[in-house]
């Protein structure tokens, strides 16, 4: 997303927003050790660093643990219904280009009940940032297998182990027409999470970030191998992608220079099994945005409405004196 000029001017006269200006009066109620806390922090850092006016910022979510995030942001929030965060956010954005729209959704919310909206949201490519909190489990409803749960996972709905292979949100998203920004982050590397979110925010179009997120309650130790062994994390860098701070680079030495324009390589990286890639997989800023394609060319003024209504009435008009009737035309 990009800030319009008027926004920049407003920010010049606005007092500086601090991190606390984006924290709501409600303390987060996620479990201790839940990856959602890191995502919330990254969101608040982004808003502070970009100096987004809280009243111009809208966080839309569906239902699930992740979808509680808007309650903890001091911004306009919309905690909607299960699976429908994306179409609600699209509706918010369609006539309000001045609003900064963020969507937080979970693997059940986005990839299961809301899957149709996910695909079409990618295709609409509206200006918004979508954060998929993927903990590979239904948490709020207490441990059911999700579409991204690993094969064999024992849960309340698959007590003998999940029988299906998981759906890969990255390859699915990359496969949708008009995809313009796909990235992956993990909650346990906050610097890269923030960097990725920042790149996503600055992308014009729909930026989709899958964030692998730890659930200490129902998926404890799921990502331990990767948390403990930085060499199993593959960091994607590029002049047009993430640039690593030296301290991050020292820990995460498994790096690949990946050009975000390379769709073929993006798909290959997304399909890695042993390593978790982090960074920008794909970016194409030239994809048209539905909100811009559908933006009204003329403002909806009373005079215009009157003119158009009268034109339409003329086409189907009956006049007391036909001689005074305008020529019937389509």
């Amino acid at each position: 997303m990009t800030a319009p000029m008027s926004q920049c001017l407003m920010q010049m006269v606005q007092t500086d927003y601090a991190l606390s200006d984006y924290q709501s009066e409600i303390a987060p109620r996620w479990c201790a050790g839940c990856g959602d806390n890191a995502i919330l922090t990254a969101m608040q850092r982004l808003c502070r660093d970009e100096q987004l006016p809280p009243e111009k910022t809208v966080c839309v979510s569906g239902i699930g643990c992740s979808s509680r995030l808007p309650h903890y942001m001091n911004a306009y929030g919309f905690h909607g219904v299960h699976g429908r965060a994306l179409p609600i956010a699209e509706g918010v954005k369609i006539r309000r280009p001045d609003l900064h729209v963020f969507v937080t959704t979970g693997d059940g919310d986005c990839c299961s009940i809301g899957a149709a909206h996910w695909l079409h949201a990618i295709r609409y490519n509206m200006n918004m940032t979508v954060l998929l909190h993927d903990n590979q489990i239904y948490g709020l409803t207490k441990k059911q297998t999700s579409p991204t749960s690993p094969h064999g996972l024992k849960s309340n709905t698959t007590p003998h182990g999940a029988v299906l292979n998981p759906l890969n949100p990255l390859t699915v998203t990359l496969g949708v027409a008009n995809v313009s920004f796909v990235a992956q982050a993990v909650d346990w590397i906050p610097d890269l999470l923030y960097e990725t979110l920042s790149k996503a925010y600055h992308h014009k179009g729909l930026s989709f970030i899958r964030i692998l997120q730890r659930c200490p309650e129902f998926m404890d130790h799921r990502f331990d191998d990767w948390v403990r062994d930085p060499s199993k994390m593959r960091i994607l860098t590029h002049a047009d992608g993430l640039r690593l701070k030296p301290e991050v680079s020292r820990i995460y030495k498994n790096q690949e220079t990946h050009d975000p324009r390379d769709m073929g390589r993006a798909l290959a990286i997304s399909s890695l099994n042993d390593e978790i890639p982090v960074g920008i997989l794909y970016r194409d800023p030239s994809v048209p945005c539905y909100d811009e394609l559908r933006a009204g060319e003329r403002p909806n003024t009373p005079a215009l409405v009157q003119t158009v209504l009268n034109e339409e009435f003329d086409k189907v008009g009956i006049w007391p004196d036909p001689a005074t009737a305008p020529e019937i035309r389509e």
């Binding site: 709501s24 409600i26 006016p53 809280p54 009243e55 111009k56 809208v58 966080c59 839309v60 309650h71 942001m73 001091n74 911004a75 306009y76 929030g77 919309f78 905690h79 909607g80 219904v81 429908r84 994306l86 179409p87 609600i88 956010a89 699209e90 509706g91 918010v92 954005k93 369609i94 006539r95 309000r96 001045d98 609003l99 149709a116 909206h117 695909l119 079409h120 559908r294 009204g296 060319e297 003329r298 403002p299 909806n300 009373p302 215009l304 409405v305 009157q306 158009v308 209504l309 009268n310 339409e312 009435f313 189907v316 008009g317 009956i318 007391p320 036909p322 019937i328 035309r329 389509e330």
Partner: protein, 643 residues
């Protein structure tokens, strides 16, 4: 009939009116028989243009100062097999000397382009005994003997049944002017009908020019030639000459169908977003809106499904641009969870439901008033919302404007019920005069007072001032969870009940603004008929006819179904018997299985019985057809006779 069959027609022998015309031409100026009204049907295979022919005839009649009402005859498939009973497609036009409010009873005159589509209308009971039937006669020469035989046997049958049958070589006549008469025969028919009903030639030609305005001049010229050919042929060969007296209009009018009126109403309401998913019979409203909405800087969003159509609209409304979603029954079912969200979070939303036959896929192209209960009670939990129904084409236009105003005043969902009957029916009405007050005010972006709460419910009305994104200090997280005045999630029993109370209170506050419409007929009497929605015209016509026969019957029309205006009980008290008239299902009381304990009543009857504790009856049909005044009269007479 002669063997070559051209340039001739036959009439019903039993009427004693056979004329042998070979070699003769009738005088062009025959005195016309003056009629009060006639119902004309044009039926053909799908794609032969019978609908366009009927619409054009209606427009010509309306412009001539006649009252009109049109009903589309629609096959369920896009390209049903040719010459099939199921494939009948066309238009019924009721033309009257006075304004009409419904499609009337059976047809007086039918033009059929083959005998199978004619059979379809006969089977449906839509043709008056002894009616005039003009049929395309080419089938008698069809090389396929089955077709020729089928045609001959149907003609013989209907002649025997007393219909006045005219066999007309339409194809052969059109071939004199165009290469492929399948396209253009409808204009020949239009010309014949203009001659039969004595419509002005210039007016008819202007209408044809309008109909084909988007085509090039050659097409327009060819169609006008066919129109004139049809007119001349009828003048030369038919002994049918009618005139339906008309009253020149004294003020500007417009003529359109219900879905067009809804679309124009949406434009006039100031709503800027319509989000929809294709569904019959609602879609044509969105088609028309798609054509004109962008001209006023607005958008029709075709969503990926009904659920996203509704939630997209909710998002737009939440952001300050009150939105509408247009659908039909199955779509309403899918939207119900989202509608509950809009009720819970108090977001204005207009839902237009152009009802069709249900349940499930039901009768997609046919009319039914089957969604009243689903509209009021469809969602889970207690979700009070406003439900209103449109009763005429004009009402479609103004209801869209009213619905937006109610939705934004009370921060609630307003469901507007139309139906497949009104969707495609055309009727003239007074041309609306634009009023800037129709439009929505600009989105409020002023700062909210520091201590204001997003759900600061007014204790008297339950209404809270909504904070819209962009308003400084108004930040809050809206939620579909139970919440307190700060919009904080709250599972506390008292807070939950307070939310329920305030949302319910808004409906009560709105109810106090409603006024019951005057009773149609007399203020008291033997029988009161109560209806809602599109049946209004047919019910009132039945009442007028019954009263003319001396029966003390009146009717009451309800525009608002949830909540309803006060005073219905007092009106019902003034009549000996009360019965609702609805185009939906009820269990027939004479069915051996049906008792007081298990009879399922029509929707409105259910609502009135439970609200007012009155043992009122209901009468209804769910045949997928508009109710006819004569059927309603018969039902009322039966009810009057019952002890």
């Amino acid at each position: 009939m002669t063997s070559d069959g051209r340039q001739e027609f036959a009439e019903n022998a039993e009427l004693g009116d056979i004329r042998e015309l070979k070699g003769k031409k009738r005088p062009k100026t025959r005195p016309a028989i003056v009629l009060n009204e006639h119902i004309v049907e044009i039926v053909s295979d799908s794609g032969e243009g019978a609908q366009r022919c009927g619409q054009s005839l209606a427009a010509i009649a309306a412009r001539s100062g006649n009252g009109i009402w049109t009903v589309e005859i629609i096959p369920a498939e896009i390209q049903p097999p040719h010459r099939s009973i199921a494939g009948a497609s066309g238009n019924r036009v009721r033309i009257a000397s006075q304004p009409v409010t419904n499609g009337g009873d059976e047809a007086d005159l039918v033009v059929a382009l083959n005998e199978q589509v004619l059979l379809s209308r006969l089977h449906a009971g839509e043709i008056k005994p002894g009616a005039i039937i003009l049929i395309e006669s080419m089938w008698q020469f069809d090389p396929n003997p089955e077709i020729a035989t089928a045609y001959a046997s149907v003609c013989a049958k209907i002649r025997a049944e007393g219909y006045r049958l005219y066999e007309i070589p339409m194809e052969a006549e059109c071939q004199k002017y165009v290469h492929d008469p399948r396209r253009g025969k409808n204009m020949f028919v239009l010309g014949m009908l203009c001659a039969i009903y004595s419509f002005d030639t210039d007016m008819a030609q202007a209408q044809v020019r309008f109909t084909f305005a988007k085509k090039d001049q050659k097409v327009i010229d060819a169609n006008i030639e066919l129109l004139d050919a049809g007119r001349n042929w009828a003048d030369d060969n038919l002994d049918l000459k009618y005139e339906i007296s008309s009253h020149p209009v004294s003020a500007k009018q417009v003529v359109m169908n219900g879905n067009a009126a809804l679309a124009l109403g949406v434009v006039a309401s100031g709503m800027e977003v319509c989000s929809m998913y294709p569904i019959t019979p609602a879609t044509s409203a969105s088609h028309y809106l798609s054509d004109i909405f962008e001209k006023v800087g607005c958008v029709v969003h075709q969503a990926e499904d009904e659920i996203s159509a509704c939630t997209f609209a909710i998002g737009a409304s939440y952001a300050g641009k009150c939105a509408v979603t247009i659908t039909s029954g199955p779509g309403l079912s899918l939207k119900q969870e989202a509608i509950g969200l809009a009720v819970m979070a108090e977001i204005p939303l207009v839902v237009i439901n152009v009802q069709r036959g249900g349940p499930s896929t039901g009768l997609p192209t046919k009319v039914e008033q089957g969604d009243l209960m689903a509209s009021i009670f469809g969602g889970h939990g207690d979700a009070p919302k406003v439900v209103m129904a449109v009763s005429s084409i004009e009402d479609c236009f103004y209801s869209a404007i009213t619905a937006r105003k109610i939705a934004e005043t009370f921060n609630t969902v307003v469901i507007v019920l139309s139906d497949a009957g009104l969707a495609t029916a055309q009727q003239p009405f007074a041309r609306p005069v634009f009023n800037a007050d129709w439009l929505a005010p600009p989105v409020n972006q002023s700062a909210v007072p520091e201590d204001a709460k997003p759900y600061d419910w007014d204790e008297r009305t339950g209404i809270a001032t909504r904070f819209v994104p962009g308003q400084p200090n108004g930040m809050h997280c809206l939620t579909g969870l139970a919440h307190d005045r700060d919009s904080h999630v709250a599972y506390d029993p008292e807070i939950n009940e307070e939310g329920l109370l305030q949302r319910s209170r808004k409906l009560a506050a709105f109810q106090t603004t409603l006024r019951l419409e005057p009773v149609y007929g007399g203020d008291d009497g033997d029988l009161l008929l109560i209806g809602w929605g599109s049946t209004r015209g047919a019910i009132e016509e039945a009442v007028a006819n019954l009263r003319a026969q001396g029966h003390k019957v009146s009717s009451l029309h309800l525009k608002y179904l949830q909540p309803m205006a006060s005073g219905i009980d007092a009106v019902m008290d003034r009549f000996d018997k009360v019965m609702t008239i609805e185009n939906n299902w009820n269990d027939p009381p004479d069915d051996p299985l049906i008792t007081k304990a298990n009879r399922r009543y029509s929707s409105l009857a259910n609502l009135l019985r439970s609200r007012w504790l009155v043992d009122i009856d209901c009468w209804g049909k769910a045949r997928g057809q508009p109710l006819k005044p004569a059927s309603i009269m018969q039902a009322a007479l039966t009810k009057l006779e019952k002890p």
